[in-house]
Subunit: 334 residues, 2 copies
């Protein structure tokens, strides 16, 4: 059972997406408990008719999204996202889900939570669709760069998300080449240190072309690179699908073929849909904050809620903390 | 007319690809002159039967590719790539084309050429396939990071590749967000300086998802990010096409549809083929060295030779130099 606070006002579409997603999730999962945070009037909801495993908490939207996070947060006192974070801090809920901007969420994790001593900022960890099993990649943009010790901390976080009694996670470092002498010093150093750490199955360097092969549990990189890799992949996917679509607009026969193929093609591409993998963990603190894409639709936002419930059930926050401590205990750091 | 030296021994497939590509190119383009550099015995060529607009220069393969570039180059004296570079330095040829490793080519450009004073290393500039017109992106991995002044130098190089009497190139900086306050300090600083430089049409920040839209002439980023973005896109493209292919393996009807659609789909995707865009410029020196993908086939290697001829004809080396000087003359740098 997970108690999950939902920030209804985050994201590009606000309650028009977050509310129906949440209601559907909690109706389908009576074992979980939802705290829906938002302004009822703006959400056009009659709070008397909510599912019995949910409650309503009144709070305001955060305000104009075009401002810097720091400026937004000065006036955030009764915003839905800040209210949800206070409930998380007070352990009234086990997790929160929000489609708010990353910068806002990072600032609030730092304000309301306790970061592990190995970190100076939280870390954005996301599940990628691949050819095989899902892979977690981090950092995806919480920081712009990473020292070798920070890369090791990211590795420990990733490990905590997967490690079980019986198996060690497989993990690689993202670099511009796979040979040990490639890349900047912080990566070569982290490569050396990770290869000597017995608590993971470290696979060495991989290149960005291998990210989607699905052979690994965890891929570690600095946040600027991670963010660029994910966005570039989205752009490349867009370009390919757009070009394919144009094939089926060339005359009647191809149009008919396109209709016949629409369903099987959608089925084949559906595992690659980034929305199915929605729900990134803002990791490295004692709080479980899950970030949805800002432009998530109902299916995607519900996937983020499902992620948060799964992460609560698997108790990943203490597991991540344990792996970070293990880095210190095993004397792995530089 | 361009005089082009071809390093026959570079690349994963060596002369079995580079020689037929070169012969085809110079037969089709009698106005250009080719200097084919390699060991005739290994290339299985009878040098008497070469096209009249080519000549043969004997030289050895470079040796075991698994070593570091620095170690390789200590024994490079009579290698095909070093011989080609000496001809380029002596202005016996206008350009060289090689599928040798980037590290080797960067080291030889520095050894045989003169870098512009604004640069400490050459810069790898590559033409990307996009939805619209081709876009040049740089740096793609010659360096691992870039200061704001280095990013400005990359912008000047990109500008030199496109600027004409009548039009200024459009250019953007790659960042993790498009707002002016996003990203690390060197990017925010470069953004400010570029916005004040009248010699380009600067468009501000773009995110990696916009790289393939084809709205820009030039995209500037540090080499680690650029390298990762391109490789990630290749991986994402692979993943998509593999999933699509699987659609056409599900039963007889889909197999037949697949056969009918093979040609139009190939036609639609052909502009996205990275091999068609083969031929990166190792820029920033007085030498015109064009790098082919190591795994290029005959079509791709020929595309790299075509690129070198085009760049010689458009006299981009002096144009790039002019734009780099303009950065100094206009007092744009930090």
């Amino acid at each position: 059972m997970a108690r999950i606070a939902i920030d209804l006002h985050g994201g590009d579409f606000g309650p028009s997406v977050t509310l129906p997603s949440s209601l559907q999730f909690f109706r389908q999962h009576p074992q979980h408990y939802g705290v829906l945070v938002g302004r009822a009037e703006l959400c056009r909801v009659s709070v008397e008719q909510l599912p019995p495993n949910t409650e309503w908490v009144e709070a305001d939207p955060l305000g104009d999204q075009s401002h810097k996070p720091s400026r937004l947060l000065r006036h955030a006192g009764n915003s839905s996202i800040e209210v949800a974070f206070r409930m998380l801090e007070d352990q009234v809920v086990d997790a929160l889900v929000s489609a708010e901007h990353t910068g806002v969420l990072l600032a609030l994790v730092t304000k309301h939570g306790t970061l592990h001593s190995l970190l100076t900022r939280p870390v954005l960890a996301s599940w990628l669709p691949t050819k095989a099993k899902p892979t977690v990649m981090l950092d995806l943009g919480a920081s712009f760069s990473a020292t070798s010790d920070q890369l090791l901390a990211y590795a420990a976080i990733g490990s905590g998300l997967f490690r079980t009694e019986s198996s060690l996670p497989t993990l690689a470092l993202l670099n511009v080449g796979t040979e040990y002498f490639k890349g900047p010093p912080e990566l070569r150093n982290a490569n050396q240190l990770l290869s000597e750490w017995p608590s993971i199955r470290y696979q060495g360097f991989i290149e960005a072309s291998q990210v989607f092969e699905g052979k690994l549990d965890v891929i570690v990189c600095d946040g600027f690179t991670g963010n660029s890799v994910i966005k570039a992949s989205e752009g490349a996917l867009d370009l390919t699908l757009g070009s394919l679509q144009s094939v089926f607009n060339r005359g009647l026969l191809l149009r008919l073929l396109g209709l016949a193929l629409k369903r099987p093609i959608q089925q084949a591409l559906s595992p690659l849909d980034p929305h199915k993998a929605n729900g990134a963990l803002i990791a490295g603190s004692n709080l479980m904050a899950v970030k949805s894409h800002g432009n998530a639709g109902q299916v995607a936002f519900k996937a983020a809620i499902e992620r948060s419930a799964d992460l609560v059930n698997r108790q990943v926050i203490p597991a991540v903390w344990r792996e970070l401590n293990r880095l210190i205990d095993d004397d792995v750091l530089d």
